[in-house]
């Protein structure tokens, strides 16, 4: 065993893409498969520099379809494998993610959202929410962590591997171009030193012994002959997903207890929302912020409670209503008026949130 990539704890100042590479190393990820696309590239750049020093591997594939499916292969071989992509690459990768959903293959995908639709910008957006949560030809039995700081990028990249292998659902770290490219400080750590044990991995293909002689062969399928067969398979997947959803769902709240106006935002936009709430509270205004950390599953019960308590809700996102759709589904039936502040493909500042909230007060 080579030396641990990070001994104990280490305060650093770096870009988010570098953070992801370090986090994957610290999480004992064994192999990355990837294809170049901005703003994800530097995850591969750092990984390919660091990986050989720690006995880890990398394969640059011919496209993101292949990156997705080779990652599936790596996981089936029992490795803690991951990939990273953005935008049109994420679109192509949905096919493999759909297979992972069906066959409960615990792959980890890091998404650095860029503008959309189409090639759009290589810069930033929150427009890959719907696709990352629901991109396949299925129900969306996936787990999506939406990060907002470099510390969270580090924490949740490590956590994503454990969530994936514990529950066997494809697990996504949903970042964005801002988080990829910006530099800020964080504390990197050896997970074990913080009492985080990596969930052990196991091969689905290539176990010990001769199949049919020493053991049964593993025959993994995703094609079924009858409606009934498929019904059972999907019902089982979704019943597991629903069973685990409450323990997987994560959220954060800021000054929500007595809030008249509740700001809901996720990912990097929560930073603007948090700053806005702080400023408005300093002026004595009753404003709070609910931030879903997992977009899939969403912390439905808590969200409903806070929305019901508020007199007015402001949904803020760098997309045209992709978060809003998830929220609507979760808060169906509540009558609190909701106002949208949508900035597809553009960043949101605290000043803008303050301005929007003031219109509602």
């Amino acid at each position: 065993m080579t030396e641990k990539p990070i001994q104990g704890e280490k305060r650093v100042f770096m870009t988010g893409n570098e953070v992801v590479a370090w986090a994957a190393l610290a999480a004992d990820a064994e192999i990355m498969y990837g294809y170049p696309i901005t703003p994800q590239n530097e995850i591969m750049h750092y990984w390919t520099r660091l990986a050989p020093k720690h006995g880890r591997r990398f394969l640059q594939t011919e496209d993101e379809i292949s990156a997705g499916f080779t990652t599936v292969g790596g996981v089936l071989a029992g490795r803690r494998a991951f990939t990273a992509t953005a935008g049109p690459g994420n679109t192509l990768m949905q096919e493999a993610l759909s297979m992972a959903e069906m066959m409960r293959i615990p792959i980890v995908q890091v998404v650095t959202q860029r503008g959309g639709p189409s090639t759009a910008t290589v810069i930033y957006s929150q427009q890959e929410v719907t696709m990352t949560c629901f991109g396949g030809n299925g129900e969306g039995a996936r787990i999506v962590y939406s990060t907002s700081t470099h510390q969270e990028l580090y924490d949740y990249t490590i956590k994503a591997f454990n969530t994936a292998w514990k529950y066997r659902f494809p697990t996504h770290v949903l970042g964005d171009g801002y988080q990829s490219k910006m530099r800020e400080s964080l504390t990197m750590y050896d997970p074990q030193a913080r009492g985080i044990d990596m969930v052990p991995t196991e091969p689905s293909l290539g176990n010990e012994g001769t199949p049919g002689v020493d053991r049964e062969p593993n025959h993994l399928r995703n094609t079924y002959n009858t409606e009934d067969e498929l019904y059972d398979v999907v019902t089982n997947i979704m019943s597991d997903w629903e069973k685990y959803a409450p323990e997987i769902a994560e959220y954060q709240e800021y000054d929500v207890e007595d809030a008249d106006v509740l700001v809901i935002a996720h990912g990097v936009v929560t930073r603007a929302a948090q700053a806005a709430v702080k400023e408005l509270r300093a002026q004595g205004k009753k404003v709070g912020h609910f931030r879903p950390v997992t977009l899939r599953p969403i912390a439905e019960e808590q969200l409903r409670k806070r929305v019901e308590q508020a007199k007015s809700v402001l949904v803020v996102e760098s997309a045209y209503g992709q978060l809003r759709k998830i929220l609507d589904n979760a808060i169906y039936g509540l009558t609190t008026p909701i106002t949208n502040f949508f900035k597809p493909g553009e960043g949101v500042t605290a000043d803008e949130v303050v301005e929007e909230v003031n219109k509602l007060l």
Binding site: P39, T121, V122, M182, E184, S185, R271, E352
Partner: protein, 188 residues
């Protein structure tokens, strides 16, 4: 300075605005402060104006980009035009006084507009190579975000290996930084 400083630094490729942003934010980080730096990127990064967005504060920093900056530093005609949008009534706008043809493009609603002869000083007094260090000095002079010693340490960290080979370079760089501070202070 509890509220922190927002700085937009813009220039042509090769003028070193990104490395200035990087050294300053690293110095602030080493100083135990919150620092966030994000470059503009995108298709624009090839052949366009290079912009660095820097925030330094004593509190956690909100969104990585901002609407208006406390300090804008523009180092070319295109940079002046590009960064006008980050100016409001509280902004100090610093530009190189050697830039021609921007008289009509300078912001009229800024708190202060300062022209400094950084390009000229680099060329005539010091060395064109240390132009970006003069600018770094100007940033420090205008904001006080990091103190001079910390900034020198940050440069030492970045370029120390070069200074080992040629100690004169160290003096040149430190001189450049001090000149940058002076240039701004004189105008403030």
């Amino acid at each position: 300075m509890a509220k922190g400083v927002k700085l937009a630094l813009a220039g042509e490729g090769g003028q070193g605005v990104q490395s200035v942003a990087m050294i300053i934010t690293e110095a602030a980080y080493e100083d135990g402060r919150e620092a966030l730096y994000i470059p503009n990127f995108g298709v624009e990064q090839r052949g366009g104006v290079s912009v660095a967005y820097v925030q330094i504060s004593d509190e956690p920093i909100g969104s990585p980009k901002f609407k208006t900056a406390d300090i804008v530093i523009a180092l070319s005609d295109r940079a002046v035009r590009r960064t006008k949008r980050y100016v409001d009534k509280n902004t100090t706008f610093v530009y190189d006084s050697g830039i021609e043809g921007v008289e009509d493009d300078l912001p009229t609603h800024a708190a202060k507009v300062l022209g400094i002869p950084a390009i000229k000083v680099a060329k005539e007094e010091l060395h064109p190579r240390v132009f970006n260090i003069i600018i770094m000095g100007a940033v420090i002079g205008a904001t006080g975000v990091v103190d001079l010693d910390r900034a020198k340490q940050a440069i030492e960290k970045k370029l120390g290996y070069k200074f080992e080979k040629d100690p004169k370079l160290r003096d040149l760089n430190f001189k450049a930084m001090e000149r940058g501070i002076e240039l701004v202070k004189k105008e403030l």
